[in-house]
Amino acid sequence: MAHGPATGLSRWMFTTNHKDIGTMYLWFSFAMFLLGGVFALVIRAELFEPGLQIVEPNFFNQMTTMHGLIMVFGAVMPAFVGLANWMIPMMIGAPDMALPRMNNWSFWILPFAFAMLTATLFMEGGAPNFGWTFYAPLSTTYAPPSVTFFIFAVHIMGASSIMGSINIIATILNMRAPGMTLMKMPLFVWTWLITAYLLIAVMPVLAGVVTMMLMDIHFGTSFFDAAGGGDPVLFQHIFWFFGHPEVYIMILPAFGVVSAIIPTFARKPLFGYASMVYATASIAFLSFIVWAHHMFTVGMPLAGELFFMYATMLIAVPTGVKVFNWVTTMFKGAMTFETPMLFSIAFVILFTIGGFSGLMLAIAPADFQYHDTYFVVAHFHYVLVPGAIFSITAAVYYWLPKWCGNMYNETMGKTHFWLAFLGLNLTFFPMHFVGLAGMPRRIPDYSLQFADFNMIASCGAFLFGAAQILFLFNVIATIRGGKKATAEVWENPEGLEWTVASPAPYHTFSVPPDVK
């Protein structure tokens, strides 16, 4: 067991080491983040001014679709799986993941899925152009031929996520060091355990819904075609039965990351650990009974509309508990503001703003005005960019010294933060205004009243994009050299990962540690 990594390409191809696989996941997700970002910039460039100037409407729709798919399935989810791979074994005192060979598989099928998805851009009829929510019949009867490749790509991504989740659950349940009881686990492990259960429950549903599409398109069934006794609205119900838990899949691990970082830099234990666990579990539970709030305008009986409205509003309670806990953790601490902390504080503030707009969207009568407008776009980008992206960035800065043994450049990190923070708000805050004023989402051209704010948003988007280059540069520079990090890296951080040397040896906790 004491040997180090193999050399050359085969190290990465055949590795079963959780750290190697975590690294590959993180690099892959960053590549996808850049690709999805380029698609986003195409969208923002087209929307810089009214009129059609850069791309045709059909290609614009391909961009919005691919941006959504790549960011959700290619950037955010693999990034969190990468963090889980790196950190969970180290946090619970395990030598590796429970199923290391499957771990290798779950990663290596991903590049194929995304190669296939990206290849659709070059196919006749173009890439999928029906939005990342791919509502039937636009995605079935009226879809470009490339939809079949899209379906297979989704199947592969789903298989990867499911294998990853089984691995994470098995690891957490069976591989904890003696004395590491469930209620002693770091919150990142807890949130990932719950996320993995969500994934196990809903990824098969996604696989099911795309399979039904495939059957409708190629085998003459009519699940979603009214002519054969099906119903396009059924598609939306099944999709959002997957889709709503999915958005929590993208945010729960972020809660875990922030719950690790804030106590470290506030130099004070996390407030309300147990309530954090219960809040996470309640959010996960509620996520299964709120899906139809994405469909308030689809035409539902009044009772259904009311049920989904009330259930959705309830989510504000556990989410509120989390925010209050973080704020109370900071209260009376002794705070410093290193880059991970800056990103985490921005997370709390901006995620809360996204939560507020979410609460507004939950109110069904008001949602009739917000639905499918830029207000919704603003809402979910406020939840996902500061939520998922900022927390992943914070996690990278926080644990990078542990991973590669060198400190990152703090000035560059802070510059990255401020540029990203400014870019993000410039991009997405004006979207609230244009949405309320009546701009629908997914349109390649808009009327003149929306021109000013769209121009600001486009400028912000390019700023945000440029900031990520700085991030890439900083990470590469840190890997190559820099000030040596201590084992603890920060001031008295909590967690087993800080008890091993920096950089973390290739094999850690071959002998389980003592957990007090």
């Binding site: 349940l173 196990i200 549903v205 009214a226 006794g229 099944i238 009986p301 009772a303």
Partner: protein, 193 residues
């Protein structure tokens, strides 16, 4: 049974989870669609009405009248003429009413149509019973032919008091591709004695 399960806890957990995965997939594909249909029928979601109705002990409530409106849509601008004989009728709850639609295939080739009913308000859908409807079957028509398509329905005597107007919509879909065999039957009948 117990020793049939693998001893290794990791394998055991993984197998259980794989079982959940298979179960959820089956749930999505085989349980959710029928469950949704049932749900629609009970709540009137999407204005779906049930299949053929067997009248049981209907009492005509002459104290009330409900206006039933008929609207039609031709999906993908299907080149048929398709319209109700009357735009709307007033009926008493409980009374069985007969009316019909005119359909004409404007093209030169045989086509098969399927009409999909939908009723608003949704809360009235479960009280709208069809005892006979052309929408229960596909309708084949040779090029240029026309047909009278009958519909018999009962508005249930228990329809909520707030419901004064019920709108019945039919959307006509072209299912010639899928149901070409029906045309063959039609041709055979025409060639017969």
């Amino acid at each position: 049974m117990k020793n049939l399960l693998p001893i290794d806890p990791t394998t055991r957990v993984s197998l259980k989870l794989a079982g959940v995965v298979v179960g959820m997939f089956a749930f999505a594909v085989w349980v959710m669609p029928p469950l949704y249909d049932l749900f629609c029928e009970v709540t009137g979601l999407n204005g779906k009405t049930g299949g053929q109705y067997e009248a049981v002990e209907v009492k005509v409530d002459t104290s009330r009248t409900v206006t039933v409106q008929f609207v039609v849509t031709k999906n993908e601008s299907m080149p048929w003429e398709f319209k109700p004989k009357v735009g709307s009728i007033k009926v008493h709850p409980g009374e069985e009413v007969e009316m019909s639609y005119m359909a004409r295939n404007l093209t030169g080739t045989g086509m098969v149509a399927q009409a999909i009913p939908s009723v608003v308000p949704f809360k009235a859908a479960q009280y709208f019973h069809k005892t006979e409807c052309f929408c229960f079957n596909q309708q084949p028509l040779q090029g240029g032919d026309s047909a009278d398509l009958p519909l018999r329905f009962i508005v249930d005597q228990d329809v909520p008091k707030q419901v004064h107007t019920i709108t019945l919509s039919y959307t006509l879909f072209d299912v010639t591709e899928q149901k070409r065999d029906l045309l063959a039957g039609l041709a055979g009948a025409a060639a017969g004695p």
